[in-house]
Each structure stands twice: as C-alpha cells, then as structure tokens.
C-alpha cells in the first residue's frame, strides 16, 4: 500500500485478511474438484453438442417459449381483472375474486393440468344447446389444456401482485385525477396502473421466469415442449443425462434472455423516478419525506 500524505506521524497498516484468503482458496479447490468430477464422469459430451441444435430440441424450445408467452398473457389479463374485482365495492365481484385466487392457488399446477386435460371425463361434449356443440376431446388438445391450466393458475398469483401494486399508490393520486375531471376508471387506467407497474414488473418478471420452467409440467400431458422433446430423444438413445443437460442449457438461455429484457422493461416504467434502477429509493418519496 502506498503511504498517504498525513500531518500525523502515524501510519495506518491495512488489516491482514489471512482467513479470507484461506477460505477463498478452499472454495476454489472444491469447485475445481466438482468440475473435474463432471468432466471425468460418464457423460458423453459429444451427445450434448450433437443434440443442442437438433430440430426436435429446437422445436421444443420454441414450444416452451410459445406456452410461456400465452400462459403469461392469460395470467396477466386474468390477474388484472381479478385484482380490480377484488378492490371493487360490489361484494359479489369481490368474493368471486377471492374464491378464484383461493381455488387456483390451493391446488398444484400439475394437478390442474391433468384436470383440464381430462375434462372430457366430466363433460363429453361442450357448447350452447341448439347453437353449437363439440366433443371435448377434440378441443382439449395438450396445448389448450396446458394453456388453460398454466394461465388460469398464473392469474391467481398475478392478481395478488397487481393488487399489491395498486395498493402501493397513494390515494391522493386517484383524488388528483378525479379533481381534474377524470372518471374513476380513467384515473385507474391512466394514473394509478402506470405507476403501479413499477411495483408490479419485478415480481411479474420473476413469475415469467418461473413460468418458463413450469411449462415443463406440460410434458406429462403430451405437449411437446422442451423437456418432452429431450425425453423423446433419450427414450431412443438412452443418453438421459446428456439430453437433460441439453434441456438445462436451453432453459438457462431463455431465462437469461428474459432477465436482461426485464431490466429494460423496468427502466421504462421507472420514468419520473430519475431513471433509478429497481430497488433504488424513489426521489419522489425522498422529497415528500423532506417536506
């Protein structure tokens, strides 16, 4: 360390971080051993490389992304509706919303997928009598069952996230909107929700990432998403671990891309908070506290 100019005769000696260094070294050695174990283990890495970009695996990746997107859109739409219903003055709407969240948060997603997929057992045909009807098995394809199952249960979680976001906005914002002649609905849509987005986006990003992985459940109802497509390969060539590694790599890639996307979405909705990133104190609050 360079000695800094000082008017006192004393010299400050930096603390010797011996144990920090030893601990760091131990962890590095352990990591190296772990990597070596995988390297020398019975993994035929050539199979990983060979299957990483195979058409059937890529189709699985695409199907997983499509399902994530569709289920999240359905989840967010249902979530916003349920959140607004929950905060309504109408007791029927409020309780229907509470019941929806209770029901679809209360059972495992996998079970819900199986229920949707087997809906034909309860309702062999669906439709409006006299107008039209169809056989349920024809309509309840793996895609539709997974879409409904994942989207509807996602809506139950999103409802709570959206409600928390709306509650986080000062009631004065609504009143200010009303005072310049807005209807309550307009104040909600143009004043409250855009601000609530700042609170809503990080957990929704989290849930979207969760959904990428949750789509793997759809493999049990024959939807050919990523996990299902690697399973189809290893049923033939028995390279189980190699293909699971392929799937892991693709899940990691998709999640990484989404995490980066989330940064940009958050930046967009933090307008007016001085471009602070997530987790930074909002300047608005600071000035209000000072006042």
């Amino acid at each position: 360390m360079r000695e800094r100019a000082s008017s006192t005769p004393f010299v400050i000696v930096p603390r010797r971080k011996t144990w920090t260094k030893i601990l760091g070294l131990v962890v590095i050695v352990l990591l190296a051993l772990l990597i070596r174990a995988f390297w020398v283990g019975d993994i035929a890495w050539s199979y990983v490389g060979a299957n990483l970009f195979s058409p059937s695996v890529l189709r699985g990746v695409v199907n997983s992304i499509i399902m994530t997107f569709c289920a999240m859109v359905l989840g967010i739409v249902l979530g916003v509706i349920a959140a607004v219903m929950r905060m309504s003055d109408n007791p029927v709407l409020r309780n229907v919303s509470i019941g929806y969240v209770w029901l679809f948060r209360g059972t495992p997603a996998l079970l819900q997928l199986l229920l949707w997929f087997n809906l034909a057992l309860i309702f062999p045909t669906m439709g409006i009598p006299g107008l039209f009807s169809f056989r349920t098995v024809d309509v309840m394809t793996p895609f539709v069952a997974a879409f409904l199952g994942l989207g509807i249960q996602q809506g139950a979680y999103t409802a709570e996230v959206v409600r928390a976001g709306i509650l986080s906005i000062d009631k004065g914002q609504t009143e200010a909107g009303l005072s310049i002649g807005m209807t309550p609905l307009r104040a909600m849509l143009t004043i409250v929700l855009p601000q609530a987005m700042r609170v809503i986006v990080p957990p929704i990003g989290n849930e979207t990432i969760g959904m990428v992985k949750l789509t793997s459940l759809a493999s049990v109802i024959q939807y050919s998403e990523l996990l299902r497509s690697v399973e189809d390969v290893y049923y033939v060539n028995s390279r189980v671990i190699e293909l699971l590694i392929v799937a892991s790599i693709w899940y990691m890639v998709v999640v990484t891309v989404l995490s980066i996307g989330q940064i940009f979405v958050e930046r967009y909705f933090s307008k007016g908070w001085g471009g602070h990133g997530p987790g930074q104190p909002a300047r608005q609050t600071l000035t209000e506290e000072a006042a």
Binding site: I180, G181, G272
Partner: protein, 253 residues
Amino acid sequence: MDALITAVGLQKYFGSFHVLQDIDFAIAKGEVVCIIGPSGSGKSTFLRCINQLERIDAGCVAVDGEIIGYHRDGRMLYPLSEREIARQRQAVGMVFQRFHLFPHKTVLQNIVEGPVGVQKRPRNDCIGEARTLLKRVGLAQKAQAYPGELSGGQQQRVAIARALAMKPKAMLFDEPTSALDPELVGEVLGVMKELAASGTTMIVVTHELGFCREVADRVLFMDAGRIVDSGTPAEILENPRNPRVKNFISAVL
C-alpha cells in the same frame, strides 16, 4: 351578489363522528374566503365535499346554480353517474396539501392531462395555454422536468397550474403550504396572491394568518364541525369577539 358556491345545511359523518354539522356557506364570484381553525375541525372535509371527494350525508351544495352529486326531481335528489360527477368536478379546481402531481408524467404532461385527456380540447392549444400558466407560476423553464426533480414549492406551483388548466370557476386550496419547508412557503403564497388579485374565486384552508389578513375578503373560523365565526380579516384576526377564536389566534401567533 349572486353566490357561486353555496352550501345549505351540510352534514357529514365519518362513522359515528359528526365531522360537519349544519354548515351554511356562500361565496360570491371573485371573492376570496379563508377558512381557519384547529386541526380536526372539518375544514378540509368541507372543501372535499365541495369537490365531491367526500359524499355528503345531508343538506346540499350547489356550484354556479347546479346541485352537485345529485339530480333533482321535486323534493327528491337522485345520485348522478360517475361520468356526470366527473363533469361537475371540472368546475372547481383543487390544490392538495401534498401536491399529488403525477410522478410518471412531466410537468407539461401533468398540466395538459386534464384539458387534453378529459376535456378533449386540441392538444396544441392546451400546450400553449400550459406554457402560459407555467410562466404565470414562474416555472416556464421546468416544462420537461419530472415532479421528482422539483422542490416542494415548485411542485405546488405546478399543481396550481394543473388545476387552473381546467379553467375552473373556483379554486379550492387545502392547506397548500402545510407540507412545505418554511423557506418555500412564500413562493406558493405569492402565486396565490396573484390569483386572488386577478379576480379568481378562491376558498383557502390555511394556517397562514398573514396571508388571510392580506388577501381574504372574508375569514371563517371552524371548530368541531361548525362555522363558529366569520367576518372580515380585521374582525376575526385583530379583534376576535368569540373566545374560541381568540384562544386559537393567540395560540397560533
């Protein structure tokens, strides 16, 4: 003189708490009325009733001859739709204690939100008017700033401009300087004095007795949900007859 805003027999409860007890009130066009009184006396609630942010429990309020919140049929008053109430609210501008600017919109967007978004007036006209208003409150150079970048006093002046942009018939001020650092109070009161001088009808709930003395045509003293005394600033502030007013004034000064 024709009254612009009248309240007759106004009653308001919060649960079992009787916040406003039989308020009778009238303000003429161009008049400036200041309401003073201890906290919890119902001053703010009264303002919020005029702007229909609170529902009244009995009595009625009329703005420019129109009963607010209700459609009258003989003796019966039927509640208006939210859309009708929203239309009526445009007749009175409101300035809040804690500003409540929209933090996700720039100063200019805050001001044009009402005229463009609600009143559907041509955007370019409104932007021009907004810039004139900003000049009037001394913030012409802050049009593109976000509220979070402004001081409290500047935010409150923008809030005044935002209310004025609706071209209201009257302006309500709910303790507009109470949330401000002392050195910022003057700039907001300055804007309000200019408004009063230009003939704006104003009801101001405030603790700034100096402002009352200088600007008010009439001062009301409220206590425990009633208008206890009213008169010219000299009558109320200099030689209060009512002992409760006297106590309050001496405690504040």
